[in-house]
C-alpha cells in the first residue's frame, strides 16, 4: 500500500496551484505544437527547456510542464490528421487512414471527439500501468552495477535498430553517430580534449538543446521549404460534435486492447509511439470481422492508433524514471532536461526524489483529464490554428528556435553549431537515416561510456565483468536475439520472394 500513499503524496504535489497552472499551460502548448505540421513533441519539449530554466521553475514543475506538452502533442497530432489528412506529427500517421475519410463523410466532429476519448483511455490505462510497474522495476534495478547498466544501454540501442524494421543498418549507423557526438568535449575521467578541433565552444561538449533543435527544428524548416503553400484547407467540423453511447461502446474493446499494447511498446526502449500506433492499427484490422470498413472511415481504425500513441507516451516514462534509459525520443529530451538540473534519472530517484517522481505520475493523470475536458469544447479554436499559413509559422519557429539555443549559453557559436547540425540532419533525413537514433545515441552516450569504464575499473581491466552476472547474461541473450531479428526477417523475406518472382 506504499504505492497508494506515495501516489497521494504525488497528487499533493501536482495539485498545488502552480503545478496545476503549469499543467494547463503545458497541455495547451502541447496541443498546438502537436497539431501544427512540422512541429512535434521533440521540438516542443526541447524549446521549453530554456524557458523553464529562465523562469527558475523547480525540477518537478519543469518535468510536469514537459510531460504535459508531450501528452498534449499526442492529442493535438490527431486534429490535423483528421481534418487535413496531414499528420501533425509522426505517430499520428495511422490516424489519417480512417480519420480523414470520416471527416469527408461529414463526421469530423464525431471523429474528433471519439479520438480524444480514445487518447484519454490510452493515457489512463498506461498511467495506471506506470503506477503498478515503475516502483517494481525501480526496486529491482537498484541492484544494477555499472556492468549491468552498460549492457542495458547496449540493449536499448540494439532494440532501436532491431525494431526499425526495414533499415537496421541505417539505424545502427545513426545511433553510432549520436554516440560519437556525445564523445566531443573534455573527457570527464582523464581531462583529455576529444574531437574539439581546438574550438573553445566545443570544449564542454555539444549542448543537447543545440543538438535537438538543430537536428529536428532546423532540418524540419529546410524540409518545409518544399511545401510553401498558402495556408491549408481544413474540413469544417460541423454537425454532431459528440459521439453517442453506441459508437463509444463499439470501440471500447479496441480501446482496451490498444491501450495495453501501446503501454508495452512505450516501455520498450526505442520502439515509441509511431510503432505502437501502427501495430495497434494492424492488430485491430486483423481482428475485425470481414465486413470491416478499415481505411474507409472505421471508428475502430481511428480509435486504435490514438489509444496506442497516448498509452505509449505515458509508458515511455517507465524506463526513463526507473532505469534512466529513455523509451522514446521525447523522453530522451526530458532526461536531458533532468541532467541539466543535476538529477540523474534511475532507480534511486524513487528513493531520493519521491516528490518529483510521484508528482510527475500524478500530473499525467491530471494532464489527461485537462486534455479531454479542453479538447471537446475548444476544438473550434484549435482548428483555427491550422489556418495559419507557413509564411508566418516558419519564421516564428526559426526565431523561437534560435532564442532557445541562444538562451542556453548566450553565445552565437551555439547558433552556428545548431545550423551545422541542422544541415547534417537534413541530409540524414533525405537519405532515410532515422534522426531519433542519433538523438537516443547522443543522450545515452555519456552514460554508456562512463558505466563501461567504471565497470572495467572495478574489475581492473578484466573484460569478463561484462558477462559475469545473471542480469548481464540475460541482457546479452536479448541483444543477440534483437540483432538476429532483422537477419531472420530478411532471410524469411528472401525465402518467400522466389515463389512470387521466379526469375528475380
Amino acid at each position: 500500500m506504499d504505492t497508494l500513499h506515495y501516489l497521494g503524496q504525488g497528487f499533493g504535489v501536482a495539485l498545488s496551484p502552480n503545478n496545476l497552472l503549469t499543467a494547463l499551460a503545458g497541455t495547451t502548448i502541447g496541443t498546438i505544437v502537436g497539431l501544427l505540421p512540422g512541429l512535434g513533441p521533440i521540438n516542443g519539449v526541447a524549446l521549453l527547456i530554456p524557458v523553464a530554466f529562465a523562469l527558475g521553475l523547480p525540477p518537478e514543475t519543469a518535468l510536469i510542464l514537459l510531460a504535459a506538452v508531450y501528452l498534449g502533442c499526442e492529442y493535438g497530432g490527431r486534429i490535423s490528421s483528421i481534418l487535413l489528412n496531414i499528420p501533425g506529427e509522426a505517430s499520428a500517421v495511422m490516424t489519417t487512414l480512417d480519420g480523414y475519410p470520416l471527416a469527408r463523410q461529414g463526421k469530423a466532429g464525431i471523429a474528433l471527439s471519439i479520438s480524444a476519448w480514445s487518447s484519454f483511455i490510452g493515457g489512463f490505462i498506461a498511467t495506471v500501468g506506470v503506477v503498478i510497474f515503475a516502483p517494481l522495476l525501480a526496486t529491482w534495478a537498484v541492484s544494477f552495477g555499472p556492468a549491468e547498466y552498460f549492457m542495458l544501454m547496449v540493449f536499448a540501442t540494439a532494440c532501436l535498430a532491431g525494431m526499425a524494421g526495414d533499415k537496421p543498418v541505417k539505424t545502427a549507423v545513426a545511433v553510432l553517430i549520436g554516440l560519437m557526438l556525445s564523445c566531443v568535449g573534455i573527457d570527464a575521467n582523464s581531462g583529455v580534449y576529444r574531437f574539439t578541433f581546438g574550438s573553445l565552444g566545443l570544449s564542454d561538449g555539444i549542448q543537447f538543446v543545440v543538438l535537438v533543435l538543430g537536428l529536428f527544428s532546423i532540418s524540419e524548416i529546410l524540409t518545409l521549404l518544399e511545401r510553401t503553400h498558402h495556408g491549408q484547407k481544413a474540413i469544417k467540423a460541423s454537425g454532431r460534435m459528440l459521439f453517442n453511447a453506441k459508437e463509444g461502446a463499439s470501440v471500447f474493446a479496441t480501446n482496451l486492447r490498444s491501450g495495453v499494447l501501446g503501454f508495452v511498446f512505450g516501455i520498450l526502449p526505442g520502439a515509441g509511439a509511431t510503432l505502437a500506433s501502427a501495430m495497434a492499427y494492424m492488430t485491430e484490422k486483423r481482428l475485425a470481422s470481414k465486413d470491416n470498413r478499415f481505411g474507409n472511415g472505421d471508428l475502430r481504425g481511428l480509435a486504435a492508433p490514438e489509444t496506442a500513441n497516448s498509452a505509449s507516451a505515458c509508458g515511455s516514462m517507465v524506463p526513463m524514471l526507473t532505469l534512466g534509459v529513455p523509451g522514446s525520443g521525447t523522453t530522451a529530451v526530458m532526461m536531458g532536461a533532468l541532467t541539466l538540473y543535476n538529477i540523474t534519472p534511475g532507480p534511486l530517484l524513487f528513493q531520493n526524489q519521491p516528490d518529483l517522481v510521484w508528482g510527475l505520475i500524478a500530473s499525467l493523470f491530471i494532464a489527461n483529464v485537462i486534455l479531454i475536458v479542453m479538447n471537446v469544447p475548444m476544438i473550434k479554436v484549435f482548428t483555427r490554428v491550422l489556418e495559419v499559413p507557413n509564411w508566418t509559422l516558419v519564421p516564428a519557429i526559426a526565431i523561437i528556435t534560435s532564442i532557445g539555443v541562444y538562451a542556453v549559453h548566450a553565445t552565437t557559436f551555439d547558433l552556428f553549431l545548431m545550423i551545422g547540425i541542422g544541415v547534417f540532419g537534413y541530409i540524414l533525413r533525405k537519405l532515410d537515416f532515422p534522426l531519433s537514433g542519433v538523438l537516443l545515441g547522443f543522450i545515452l552516450g555519456g552514460l554508456m561510456e562512463s558505466n563501461l569504464r567504471r565497470a572495467l575499473s572495478i574489475s581492473n581491466g578484466d573484460l569478463s565483468v561484462l558477462w559475469s552476472s545473471p542480469i548481464s547474461m540475460t541482457l546479452w541473450a536479448l541483444v543477440a536475439f534483437i540483432v538476429a531479428l532483422p537477419f531472420w526477417r530478411a532471410w524469411r523475406a528472401r525465402k518467400r520472394t522466389p515463389a512470387l518472382q521466379p526469375d528475380a
Binding site: A54, I177, D187, P395, A396, T412, L431, R453
Partner: protein
C-alpha cells in the same frame, strides 16, 4: 548515388577521426581504460556499417529510399541557409530585434508571403517575441545597436 556519396564520406570521416582518436593519451591515469578505447570502438562499428551500405546500397532502399529533390529547390535551400547564417552572425552585433525583423522578412518572402504581409509578420515577430521572451519569460536577449535607445 547520393547515398553512396554519403556513406563514402562517413568512411573517410571515420578514418580521420580514428587517426585523431589514436593520438588521445591521458598524461596520467588511474584506470585501465583510457580516453581513446571507446571512441575507437564506436568508429570501428560505424565504419563497418558504412562500408556495408557503401558496398550494397540496395540493401536498405538504395536510391529509391532517397526523397527526390527538385532542382528548383536548391537555390531556395541555399537562400534559407544564408538567412539562418545571417541571423546567427547578426544576432549579437545588430541585436535581437533588428536581426530577427530582417530575418523574418526574408523567410516570409521565401515561404511565399507577399511584401506587405512579410513586413507586418516581421515587425510583429521581432518586437513581440522580444517582449515575450526578454520581458515576460526572463530569457535575456541582446539589444545590440538598440541598446543606446534604452533609458
Amino acid at each position: 548515388m547520393y547515398q553512396r556519396l554519403f556513406t563514402g564520406f562517413l568512411l573517410v570521416a571515420c578514418a580521420v577521426l580514428g587517426w585523431m582518436a589514436w593520438g588521445l593519451e591521458a598524461p596520467f591515469s588511474y584506470e585501465p581504460v583510457g580516453p581513446r578505447a571507446y571512441p575507437l570502438l564506436l568508429l570501428g562499428l560505424m565504419a563497418a556499417g558504412a562500408l556495408l551500405l557503401f558496398i550494397k546500397p540496395a540493401l536498405e532502399g538504395g536510391d529509391s529510399a532517397e526523397a527526390p529533390l527538385p532542382p528548383i529547390m536548391i537555390p531556395k535551400l541555399l537562400l534559407c541557409l544564408a538567412l539562418l547564417l545571417a541571423l546567427a552572425a547578426l544576432f549579437e552585433r545588430l541585436g535581437f530585434v533588428l536581426s530577427s525583423i530582417a530575418f523574418a522578412y526574408g523567410m516570409c518572402r521565401l515561404f511565399g508571403g507577399r511584401n506587405l504581409q512579410a513586413i507586418v509578420v516581421a515587425v510583429v515577430l521581432g518586437l513581440g517575441l522580444y517582449f515575450l521572451f526578454d520581458r515576460i519569460l526572463d530569457v535575456p536577449l541582446p539589444l545590440g545597436v538598440l541598446a543606446a535607445l534604452e533609458n
